[in-house]
Subunit: 251 residues, 4 copies
Amino acid sequence: MSKIWKVAVIGAAGRMGSEAVAAVNQADDMELVAALGNGDSLELLVEYSAEVMIDLTVPAVTEQNVRFAVEHDIHAVVGTTGWDQERLSNLETLLKEHPSVGVLIAPNFAIGSILATEFAAKAARFFESVEVIEMHHPNKVDAPSGTAVHTAQKIAESRAVAGVGPSPDATETDPDGSRGAVVDGVNVHAVRLRGLTAHQEILLGDAGQQLVIRHDSFDRTSFMPGVLLGVRQVAENPGLSVGLDRYLNLD
Amino acid sequence: MSKIWKVAVIGAAGRMGSEAVAAVNQADDMELVAALGNGDSLELLVEYSAEVMIDLTVPAVTEQNVRFAVEHDIHAVVGTTGWDQERLSNLETLLKEHPSVGVLIAPNFAIGSILATEFAAKAARFFESVEVIEMHHPNKVDAPSGTAVHTAQKIAESRAVAGVGPSPDATETDPDGSRGAVVDGVNVHAVRLRGLTAHQEILLGDAGQQLVIRHDSFDRTSFMPGVLLGVRQVAENPGLSVGLDRYLNLD
Amino acid sequence: MSKIWKVAVIGAAGRMGSEAVAAVNQADDMELVAALGNGDSLELLVEYSAEVMIDLTVPAVTEQNVRFAVEHDIHAVVGTTGWDQERLSNLETLLKEHPSVGVLIAPNFAIGSILATEFAAKAARFFESVEVIEMHHPNKVDAPSGTAVHTAQKIAESRAVAGVGPSPDATETDPDGSRGAVVDGVNVHAVRLRGLTAHQEILLGDAGQQLVIRHDSFDRTSFMPGVLLGVRQVAENPGLSVGLDRYLNLD
Amino acid sequence: MSKIWKVAVIGAAGRMGSEAVAAVNQADDMELVAALGNGDSLELLVEYSAEVMIDLTVPAVTEQNVRFAVEHDIHAVVGTTGWDQERLSNLETLLKEHPSVGVLIAPNFAIGSILATEFAAKAARFFESVEVIEMHHPNKVDAPSGTAVHTAQKIAESRAVAGVGPSPDATETDPDGSRGAVVDGVNVHAVRLRGLTAHQEILLGDAGQQLVIRHDSFDRTSFMPGVLLGVRQVAENPGLSVGLDRYLNLD
C-alpha cells in the first residue's frame, strides 16, 4: 500500500490556499488533516499529526509558520514570497537542529514554466540567437516579469559557460525602442493583453532553423501539480531547497 | 479558351526579377515575351507586343520604364521602390492621356502579409487590447519594420473610427523598455533572430479570448503569387493603383 | 446622453446566464431590470419594462420565451441551442406581425471565433493550401468541433466560388490516419489536451509564405462582449438574424 | 592556438554535400582538404591527409566509404541513410581494430529538432496530456514523419518509466478520424502545407497550463551546425555513435 501523506494547508481561505485545499482533497495519496486560516492556532498542526505543511500565507507570517513546522518536525512546502537572505540563513540554522526535516521554498510552482526556463537555458548554447517574449494580463504593474528576467539570466549563464557570444543584431535605427529590454545581453519583450494570464515564449534561432519553447499559465490551478509534487518529495529532501527545479531530476 | 497574357519582365537578372521570370514561365495563362536586363532597349517591349510589363528594377530607372510602358499602352506592375508623391502625380497626369492603361505600384506583393494587416485592422475595433510583434533576420538595420508600422497605423485608424480607446496597460515600472515601441498608440515589438526571414504577428485580446493573426514570409517566392495576380488584373483596373489590397476585393 | 438599454436575463442562474448578469451590470449603457430563473414568470419582463431579453436557457423552453418576448414587443438575443428549421420558420411568421421587433439567435457569441472563420474563408482563395486544427479540453465527446466543421465548410465554399482546386497532398502512405478528417475537402485535425478550453487555428500556405489565424477561448467570459454587442444592435435589426456575423459589418 | 580540422566532404556535388562544402569553408576551425564527387578516388582522402570525412552520399556507397575511412584512421561523420543492423554490426567489428577512430551516424543533424524531441520526452512525465503535430511541404509521400514517430516513441517510453497513464480523451464520436494517428499511445497529427519545409510541435497540457515545444526547419542549412559539431567532437568519441544527441551532453 502506498503512503498517504497527512497534509495541512495554512492560508486556506486565500485564493491560492483554497485551490490547494481542493487539490489535496482530490489527491489519492494525501489526507487533508487541517486547513488553517487567519487567527487559527498552529498547535492544530501537532494536534492533527500533520506530516507536511503547505504555507500559502503572506510575507508577514510565513517565517513564523515555517519555523513552527520545523521545530515540530513537520516538513514544509512554501509558496509565500518574502524570504530574503537573512530569513533563509536563519532557517538553515534551525534546520541543522532538525536534520530530517525538509523545507521547499519556491517562487513558482508551475512545473511547465520551470521546464521552459530550464530547456531554454540548455538549448541556448547551440543557437546563434535567442530572445524572450513574456505576455501577461494588462493589470500587471511591472515589466518585464520576474520569470522572464530569471529565464534571461539562466540563458546568459549557459551561453557564458559555453563561450557563445551575443545574439547578432545589425539594428542601427530604432527610435522608439521596439527592440525591447536587454537583460544580461538577452532581448526581452513584454506584451500586455486583456484575456491573457501569464505566458512566456523563448525563441532560439540558427541558420535555417528555429526552436520555440512556450509556456502558458491559464489560471491558478496550474500551480497545484507542482505543490503536490513538492508534498510528495519534501521528506526525501531534508534541509532547505529553494526552487522546485531541484525536485524535477531533469539531468 | 482563356486569355494568355504577353508579359515582359524588366530587371530580369536581379533577385526578384529572376524569380518573376520563373513564375511567369510557370503560369499557364502567361507567355514571357521579353526579359530585359541592364542596358536592354525598352523598344523590345513594343517589338515583342508585350501587354503587361513587370518592373523590378531600381529607383533610378523605374519611372522612365513605367512612363515608356504607359506611352505605348502597355500595362505595368511595379515592385520597385522610389515612387514619391511627385513621381506619382506626374504618372497620373500621363495616365489621363492613356485612359485604358492600368498601373499597379505595390510596396509589398506578399498577399498573406496584406491580408494580415487588413484583418488586424478590421478586428481591432472589437478587442480591448492589441499589440504587434514583428520578427526578422538579424541583418536588418531598422526597427520596427515598415510593415509593422503600417499595420499599427491601420489598427489605430480603425480603432479611432470606432471610438475604441487605448489598450489597457497598468505598467508602472519598466526600467529597460521591455514594453517596446508605441506607434500611433499601439505597442510594437521587434525580434531579430538568425534563421528567420520576415514575420509578423498581431495579438488581439479581450475578456477570456485572444485572436492571433500571423504571417510568415520564408523567402522571395512569397511575392510571386501577388505579382501574377497583379498581371491578371491590371488591365481591368485602368489608372493608377497603389497597393495590392485594391485588387483583393476583400469587402 | 446615450441610450440606456433595459435588459432582462432569462436563465440567470445558469453558468452562461450568471456571466450575462454580471456583464450587463458592468455595462455603462445597460440596466438589468430582471434576472429570471427556473419557474419565474415571464410577465416580469413586462412589469419591469424590459426592452431586450437575453435568453440563455435550455432547448425545451427557449422557443416559448422568445415568442413571449416578440408578442410583447421585446427584442431578444438568444444563445440557447435547439432552434431547428421548423421553430425558425414559426418565429419568422410571428415576427411579421411585429415588424419592429428584432431577434438574434447565435450559436457562437465569441466575436474572435466568428472573425477567425470569416477571415479564413476570405483568405482561402489566395492560398494553395489550407488546413484547420482545433484544440479542446479532453472532456469533449465529439470531434472535430462544430466550429471547425463550420470553418471548413466556409473555406470550401469560398474556394469553390473562386475556382481554387484542392490543397496539394502527395501522401501515399498514412497507415494510422495522421492526416486527420477531410471535411468538404479541407483537412481538419482535433487535439484534446488538459488545460485547454476551446481553440482553433487555420493554416494557409503558398509558395514561400504562411498565414495563420488563431482563436483562443479561455473561458465563458469570452462570449459576453458578443452578447452585449447583440443587445446594442438587435433593435436596429428588425426580423430574424441567425449568427452574430450579421452584426459585425465586416464587408 | 586552437585546432584546425582537416575535413573531406564525400558526395560534395549533392544538395546536402554542397551545403557541407560551404559550411566547412566558412568554419574558422576547419580546412576543406578534399571535396569528392561521384567517381573520385577515396585515395584522395589519404593523399590530402583528411582527419575527418563527412559522408553525404547514397545508401549504395556509404558503407564502403566509411569502412575505407576507418581502415585509414580517418574519423567519419555520416548523414547518409541505409545503415541497417547488419552494416552497423560489421562496422563495430572493424572499429575494434581501430580503437581510436570515431564514427558518428546520424539520421537527423538539425540540433533544434533533436533538442525538441529530447525536451518533450523529459517533460512528458509531468503532464496529463501530450500530442504531436508535424507540418511539412505537400510533396512528402509518407505521414506521419519519421521524426514525429520517433518523438512519440520517446515520449511513450518516458511516460512508461514514470508510470504515467494515457492522455485523457473522452471522444465518443469522430466519424472522419480527426483525432489523427495513435503512435505508442500518443496522438500524432500531420499537416501538409505549401510553403512549409519541416516543422514539429509538441503540446503538453495539465490543469491550467500548457507547454509547447516547436521546431522549424526552414531549409537544408539547418543541418550544418549539427554536422560541424559532429566534426569537432567525433575524435573525442571513439567507436560508433548513432544519433547526434549523444554529443549534445544534455544531462
